[in-house]
Every structure is written in C-alpha cells, then in structure tokens.
C-alpha cells in the first residue's frame, strides 16, 4: 500500500490548516457563502437536506486497518455511529457539523487520509479496480498509475475551477470492474505487441442526465507521457467545455458536440505542445510508487481445499469469493447489503471488525468496491471459515455478491437535497421481496441500481435493471430501465414505459425477473436474455 513520505504528509497537513483558516474567515464574514462553497466542496463538505455531509477520499478504494479504525472513530466521535461507502469507493458521513470539519480533517491527516477534491468542479478522487493486485486476470496492478495521477491532480493550479466535476478511473484488465467507460476519463493500462505497457485513454463517458459511453481517443499512450496526455485532455476541456449551462458542462458534452475525432485532434495538438513543457514526472517516480504495491508474501503452501460441509458457508464461498492470482488464495467480499438494510452503510463496530479481520486474514488491506461493498483482497482459503464465522456474527455475512440483493442505491430523498424520490426504501423492499421468495440465488448475476433523481448517482443507466425515481405531481414515481451494464460489456439501459408507484416498482422488478426465468437459455444472465429477446416481452408482461 502507498505510504506518505514527508512531502505528502506536509501537503495534507497544510490543507487542514488552509481549511481551518477558510472556515474561520467564513465565520468572521470575510467570505460569503458563495465564495466559501467551492472551498468547502473541495474539502468534501456538502450541505444536504438535514446537515452537512463530509466525503472522505479513499484513493482507488484501498485502505489499511489503521485507516478503517480511524473512519470508525470519526463515525462515533462526529457522526451518528455509522458511515456510508459510496459508488466512487469513498466514504461519507451524513450528520456533520461545520465547526467540527477541520478537526475531522486533522484526524484523517494523522492516518494519511484526507477529503481533498472529493467534491467541487475539480479532478476528483481517482477510482480503480477493487481487485487490483489480486485479480487473476490483470495485466499489472493499476493502482500505481492511479496514485501517480492522484498526486498530479491534487491542488492542480490550472484545473481546480473546471466547468464541472471530473472523474478518472484506472484499470488494467479486460474485465472492467470500475465502470471505466462511464468516467470523464477512463484509463486502461494495456500491453502492446512489443510487450510494453501503455495507457488507453477513453474520454467523455458519464451517467447523469445525459449518459454517454466514452470513446477511445488514444489506444496507447506510453507510460512516460501519461501525465502529459492527461494534462492535454484537461486543458482542452478547461478551455472549451461549456460553462453557460451546468447541465451541459461535463466533458462528455464537449466530446459529443465536437465529435470524438475533433476533440482528439485538439488534445493531440495540445499534447505535442505540452511534451516540451516538462510536466511529466520521471519514470523513476512511477517506479518508486510501484514498490509500495509489491505483492505481499503469499503463503505458497496454503491449502487449496475448502471444507464445504456447512451449506451456509459453502453458499457464501460460492457467491462472495472470487479467484485470486496466487494459489490457495481468494478475494473475499464483505456484503454491505443485508436484506432490508441500507446499501453501503456500515456501523463503527462493523468497520472496526472489518479492520481487524483485514489485519488477521488479508495482509492488513481492505478495498471499497464501487458497488458499495468491502473486499478483503488476499485471503487464504484455509482462513475462509474463520473469516465467515466472524462476519456472520456481525451481520456481515450476506451471501449476495452480484445478485439482485446487491443493490446500488444513491442516498435519495432521505438525505439528498437534489433528489426527487427516495431510493433506500425501494432497495430495502426489493431485497426483502427476493429474499422472501428465495429467488435471489436462481436469478444469478443481476445488477440492480437505483437513483433518486436524474443525476444518476445510483448508476441506474448501467443496471441490468435500473430504477429512476422522479417526482410526478408531488408523488414519488419510479421508472424501470433494462439492459444497462457498467462492465466491459458496457451499455446504457432503456426505459420500459410508464413508471410505477413505490409498491408497483417492486412488483415490476419481480415481473421482469419472471420473464427472464421463462425465457432464459443455458448460462444466460438476465442482461444476456434481455439483449437476445429485446424489450417487447418485458413490456408485454409489465403493461399487458
């Protein structure tokens, strides 16, 4: 895992003092709320419906047990004893007082954490593959590249007042576990025919009210030009991205309006110019960062066999563990989706337990998934039963990874001032319904994603089944979408037809899963069947 040196620590410490000073000037009236707002946002502090929300960065979703303990302590000390893991691998606290914010940032800095640029019209926290460094299918660990870009994008003098927020994801395998092409910039670290590593740049993806899949604008940027190329992409956007309309200000609109070819031409031109400006760190810096991500010392004699005599344990192993590159190991997913629970929430006690289990069983490392679960990336198969037993006792043993219960939901109208409808109760009712009918397992992989407004924080465009909450004459109404995916088979979901009320939407989800059960062919997932048979059979079942 990356560890700060004196330079990194000094920067984060300086940021705490800067924010303390800004908050003081706000309270003294030297800063207006309009002037203060972007400053607090760039420190992760939002004003929500009932209180301030603080979003803490977890760079590329990786943290250690000491950091997870600190997050638990913050939940107890400054919030209501819980936190919410987000779709960009961060954590947010929903009940924060403005006057505590600087102290929280200071507590974070003590464990090499921060809330820098977790909001605002700047380059946000860089996300990555939650199985990085563990996945059997990766070319390299993508996190060193994400860390290089984290440093480059932190306090960037030119790109801190962009037209709109800017999100970057970095992966390094064919399998996309980070919704890479639905980011402002998606980077895939690839190998060319000569065996050299480079970065494929996908620019202009996003969800929100105008979902777009990012086109590839350069299939191979050499690693010693990575930062320079990113700088060129951002400069063209900063200069020409729309600023007349907040809803058309994301880079996806610029790329769409210019056309990918013209945008690429402008980037390449800027890139040629910037190559002479010395903005690229030396490869030695990438090498330095890489050393922090070396493999842990895997136990080469670890047992392969798992005692499956306990059927509940065997089910959890089947559903919640995934293959690892090292023999005798798996990555184990801790579901934060208990039936009837709030997707992504964890109590301080649960965080502490997960931290301790990471220390005991996963080389002191945890990951946050964009699907709002937690991963212990490197677990010996021999330790799985002990791990599962501890998780079960804490209510963290739900065997539902990638099932219909593994729902992504935005905070919705329960917390968010932008929302038109509640998301959380819909997620709760759906997981309860499928747990009750016992269909969760038989439906296989089924990604269900719920947003409480068109800003799409719940990724409804990318759900095999998506739900969008809207306001219809003062009443919450839910539209159903089918056929989206955020993975390497990326696609945007299509709306089925008229929406449903909060009870009707749960029935509607059940209805479309019944169509799938009746129509599916061998090995097909829900989304495969949808792609083969199209929307009509689902429409007929829903609207008759």
């Amino acid at each position: 895992m990356y560890a700060y040196d004196q330079y990194d620590q000094a920067m984060v410490d300086a940021r705490v003092e800067e924010f303390r000073d800004q908050a003081r000037r706000r309270l003294e009236g030297k800063l207006t709320e309009d002037q203060f707002k972007p400053l607090r946002l760039m420190n992760g502090l939002y004003l929500q419906l009932h209180a301030y929300m603080l979003r803490v960065a977890i760079p590329y979703g990786t943290l250690d047990s000491r950091q997870m303990h600190a997050l638990a302590d913050i939940a107890d000390k400054y919030d209501r004893g819980y936190g919410h893991f987000t779709t960009r691998q961060n954590i947010q606290y929903n009940w924060i007082k403005l006057e505590d914010a600087a102290d929280i940032l200071a507590d974070l800095a003590k464990v090499e954490m921060h809330a820098i640029q977790t909001s605002g019209n700047c380059i946000r926290n860089i996300s990555s593959d939650h199985f990085a460094g563990a996945a059997a299918d990766e070319i390299v660990d993508p996190r060193p590249y994400a860390e290089l870009l984290r440093q480059w994008s932190s306090f960037h003098p030119e790109f801190s007042y962009l037209p709109r927020k800017f999100k970057i994801a970095v992966i390094a395998s064919e399998t996309d576990r980070a919704a890479m092409r639905l980011h402002d910039i998606g980077i895939n670290i690839v190998k060319n025919d000569a065996g050299e590593l480079g970065a494929a740049f996908y620019v202009g993806g996003g969800m929100g009210r105008t979902p777009m899949i990012a086109p590839c604008i350069n299939p191979f940027v050499p690693l010693d030009q990575l930062v320079t190329y990113a700088e060129a992409c951002l400069r063209v956007y900063n200069r020409y991205g729309r600023r007349d309309n907040k809803y058309k200000a994301r880079i996806k609109i610029l790329v769409h309006e210019l056309g990918a070819e013209e945008y690429t031409r402008q980037v390449e031109q800027e890139f040629e110019h910037l190559l002479d400006q010395g903005v690229e760190p030396p490869l030695a810096e990438l090498d330095r960062i890489r050393t922090f991500f070396d493999d842990p010392l895997f136990d080469t004699r670890a047992a392969y066999e798992i005692d499956r005599s306990d059927p509940d344990f065997a089910l959890w192993v089947d559903r919640n563990t995934v293959p690892h590159k090292a023999d005798g190991y798996v990555s184990a997913v801790i579901s934060l989706k208990p039936v009837g629970g709030i997707p992504g929430d964890a109590t301080a006690e649960q965080m502490r337990l997960m931290a301790d289990l990471a220390k005991d069983y996963s080389f002191d490392e945890l990951r946050v998934m964009h699907t709002q679960n937690i991963v212990l990336p490197h677990v010996r198969k021999a330790d799985l039963h002990a791990l599962w037993t501890a998780l079960e006792e804490a209510g963290l043993g739900s065997p539902n990874l990638d099932t219909v219960e593994d729902i992504i939901a935005c905070p919705g109208l329960d917390y968010c001032s932008l929302a038109n409808a509640r998301s959380i109760p819909i997620a709760q009712r759906i997981s309860e319904r499928f747990a009750k009918t016992g269909k969760t397992g038989t439906l296989g992989q089924l990604k269900l994603k719920i947003s409480g407004c068109i800003n799409a924080c719940g990724h409804h465009h990318a759900g095999h089944i998506g739900i969008l909450g809207v306001d219809r004459k003062g009443v919450e109404n839910y539209q159903l979408l089918l056929g989206g995916s955020e993975a390497e088979d990326v696609s945007l979901a299509k709306i089925t037809g008229p929406g449903f009320d909060e009870h009707g939407i749960v029935d509607a989800v059940e209805t479309v899963t019944t169509v799938y059960e009746n129509e599916r062919q061998d090995g097909e997932r829900f989304v495969d069947t949808y792609r083969r048979i199209g929307m009509n059979p689902f429409k007929e079942a829903l609207y008759g």
Partner: protein, 141 residues
Amino acid sequence: MADTLRYRDDEPVDHPAVTVDSFLDQSNATAVRIEPGDDARALVPHLERLALIEVNFPAFGDGRGYSSARILREAGYEGELRAVGDVLVDQLAYMRRCGFDAFEPDKQFDMDDVAAALERWPGVYQQAADDRTPIWSKRHA
C-alpha cells in the same frame, strides 16, 4: 483604478488595456485584456511588444483564465500578467503557479490573508508556470 498587487519590479503600464480584437487590429497597443472566451494563443505572435496582459475573471468560478495564463507563459511571455475582476485570496496561490504576477481584485485583499495564502504550501505536485520544483523532482534529485 483599484490598487494593484504586483510581484514585479518594473514600472506598470500607464495606459488602459484594449480588447483582444482591437489589439489584433492595431499595432501600437502594449496592453491587452483577455476575456474568458478569448483564445490566448491569438496573442502569441505579438508577445514581444506586449508589456501587460490582463486576464479578466468576471466570476471566480470560471477557470479558463488559468489556462490562458499558463499558455502565455509557456509561449515565453515575460511581461506583466495581471488577474483582474472577481479575484479572491483563496485562488491566489494557484494563480501565482499559473504565471500571474499581478492582481487587481474587485475587492481589496487583506494583506495578512495574502501572506498566509502564498506561504501556505510546502510543496507542489506539478510543474507549472512558476519556478517551484515539483515534489517528484525533489524525490529524485
């Protein structure tokens, strides 16, 4: 004219800046003002005869001026580069990094806040238009 905070020793230009369009039409102006939508690169062929380039920030959240500034410095401009308009103390450090060396804010700065803002950062993570050495360079010196 409001007070200008300058980080230069030469004499300030004593006549008002003209718009980019009028500058490109006439040959004798030595001061020009860039608006957010102007292309700073249009000035690049004429940098030799410019002593002052003002970059206007009608609203502090419009960050196009940061790119304009860096582009001009990257092109070798050495005259005064002045941020004018809705320029706030919390943007000063970034502006200095992008090459601004003069500031004419709508509302006067508190000089204590200015000093704090410019002294705050112990390091920088990027090569930009100032002379600060990036952290990555210090690490591999």
